[in-house]
């Protein structure tokens, strides 16, 4: 009897909670819609930064000593450096270079990860052991050192940097893909499919591959911030992009020399911009995960 009297009040409480007035427009939308809107707007911002950087001409980032060392003002939002170059435009151009490196490197990495992960899960047991051993090996060496080594061996520059980043970032995603394939292979619907006369190739393309697509894209997007940060740090240390190229790492390395003279803006503002872009892409990755992940999609 007591239970019966308690139940309605519990029900009423639930009703009340779900009926809470929306605080603003964005709370009113459901999670999925919000994720889609956020993803779209973040992508648009990202593309604008990238295209704007690409469109800036070489002339715009070459400077004159007449307006060197100007602190941030309306005309120069990020100020100018010791050579009189517009730091804002240089940062934008540098970002688009970094984004190119980041996208290319993480795309190559993600493809390697899928191939390796699938090979480990679907291949023979010794292949799995060998691949796991290689993954452990690559992961146990600090990325920065490995990238410096590879980049140095390949003569630095864009090529060395790309290969270095691509060769080091596939490990964790490969593990995820391997686990996913192993789990999928033991699913009942795969066994049923086999008894319905489907070949292994057919099952891989129709049953397994669609499950890997979200892992691939989320892994790709979440790998990008790492790639771009590594690109900047390796260039900063002088093992990456050549000094004449406007890249965030180069800009930061140059600003080091003038930091003690009080020119904080050439270091702080490009640095903050880099962090913002990284955070933006990280957020983007989380939102894409929410849209694509079947377990979280309907939260």
């Amino acid at each position: 009897m007591q239970n019966n009297t308690k139940q309605p009040s519990y029900g009423r409480q639930l009703y009340k909670r779900s009926n809470k007035k929306p605080l603003n427009r964005i709370n009113y939308l459901n999670n999925r819609k919000r994720a889609v809107i956020l993803t779209t707007s973040l992508t648009i911002i990202f593309v604008i930064v990238y295209v704007a950087g690409m469109l800036i001409s070489e002339d715009a980032v070459s400077g004159s000593f007449l307006n060197a060392k100007i602190a941030p003002c309306f005309k120069y939002p990020f100020g100018t450096d010791a050579l009189g170059r517009n730091v804002f435009l240089r940062t934008l151009k540098g970002l688009s270079v970094s984004i190119t490196v980041g996208i290319a490197a993480s795309a190559i990495s993600a493809v390697i990860a899928v191939l390796v992960g699938v090979a480990a899960a679907a291949g023979s047991r010794w292949l799995d052991a060998v691949i796991n051993w290689i993954i452990d090996l690559v992961m146990s060496v600090p990325h920065t050192i490995l990238i410096i080594l590879i980049s140095f061996c390949l003569g630095r520059g864009m090529k060395g940097l790309l290969v270095g980043i691509a060769a080091t970032h596939w490990c964790s995603l490969a593990r995820v893909i391997r686990g996913e394939v192993l789990q999928l292979r033991s699913q009942q619907y795969i066994a049923v499919s086999r008894r319905l006369g489907k070949s292994s190739g057919w099952i891989f393309v129709n049953h397994i591959l669609p499950h890997l697509v979200p892992q691939f894209f989320v892994g790709l997007v979440l790998m990008f911030p790492h790639a771009i940060l590594h690109e900047a740090s390796i260039s900063f240390l002088g093992f990456g992009l050549p000094p004449e190229q406007p890249a965030i790492g180069i800009i930061l390395a140059e600003s080091m020399r003038y930091l003690s003279t009080g020119m904080w803006w050439t270091a702080v503002l490009p640095g903050i911009t880099l962090v913002l872009i990284v955070l933006l892409v990280d957020k983007l990755g989380d939102n894409i995960k929410m849209i694509l992940d079947p377990y979280r999609a309907q939260e």
Partner: protein, 200 residues
């Protein structure tokens, strides 16, 4: 014309005890056999052995005197207890039915599968609705034998009755052999022409 298990021994690991020891079962075409036992007596293992999902450690599973075919559509189809596990969650249900090879409108209609369901995803249907798809898929594959591993255990009585009614009608029409694995003695008595109790 029969599906039989001959002196079948099975264990999941060499270090573990036998799940099935010297098991002999024979089902003729057109016959309905119920296998009845409490939990842990190897009912599901036997179902998987008979439909070729796993191989016996010793002994043979024979279909008309020959081993089960390894390629092509298996003439012995197993229907699982949990339909939501036996259907790819990323597929629309139309595709699930198409996987069986051919679509038979009569079977779809007989199971009361509505056209609107075909464009939905598995998580948008209830367990009973999904189980109809699993049974329909097995029937449409053109199998000669159906092995039903507790297919109606988690369904309510009405759905249970509906699914079994259609299933038995179709099986009679095609002269199929049926092995129903169940906990439920009343269900076994009701549907089967012969009952085996593994616990005896």
């Amino acid at each position: 014309m029969a599906l039989e298990a001959k002196n079948v021994y099975f264990r999941y690991d060499r270090k573990q005890p036998w799940v099935l020891e010297d098991c002999n079962i024979k089902v003729e075409k057109g016959e309905r056999l119920a296998i009845f036992a409490p939990s842990g007596y190897g009912k599901s293992t036997l179902a998987m052995l008979l439909s070729g999902y796993i191989k016996p450690v010793r002994g043979d599973v024979l279909l008309d005197g020959k081993p089960l075919p390894k390629k092509g559509v298996c003439p012995v189809q197993l229907i699982y207890q949990h339909p939501e596990k036996a259907i790819n969650p990323r597929w629309r249900l139309r595709r699930v039915l198409e996987e069986s090879g051919r679509i038979d409108e009569n079977v779809i209609r007989a199971f009361g599968i509505e056209t609107a369901w075909l464009d939905r995803y598995p998580r948008e249907l209830s367990g009973g609705e999904l189980q109809r798809f699993c049974v329909a898929r097995a029937l449409m594959s053109g199998a000669d034998y159906l092995i039903c591993d507790e297919i109606s255990t988690m369904l309510d009585v009405i759905t249970q009755a509906q699914i079994w009614k259609v299933l038995l009608e179709e099986a009679d029409k095609r002269n199929m052999g049926i092995i129903a694995v169940t906990h439920n003695r009343h269900l076994a008595d009701r549907i089967a022409t012969r009952t085996i109790d593994l616990s005896l």
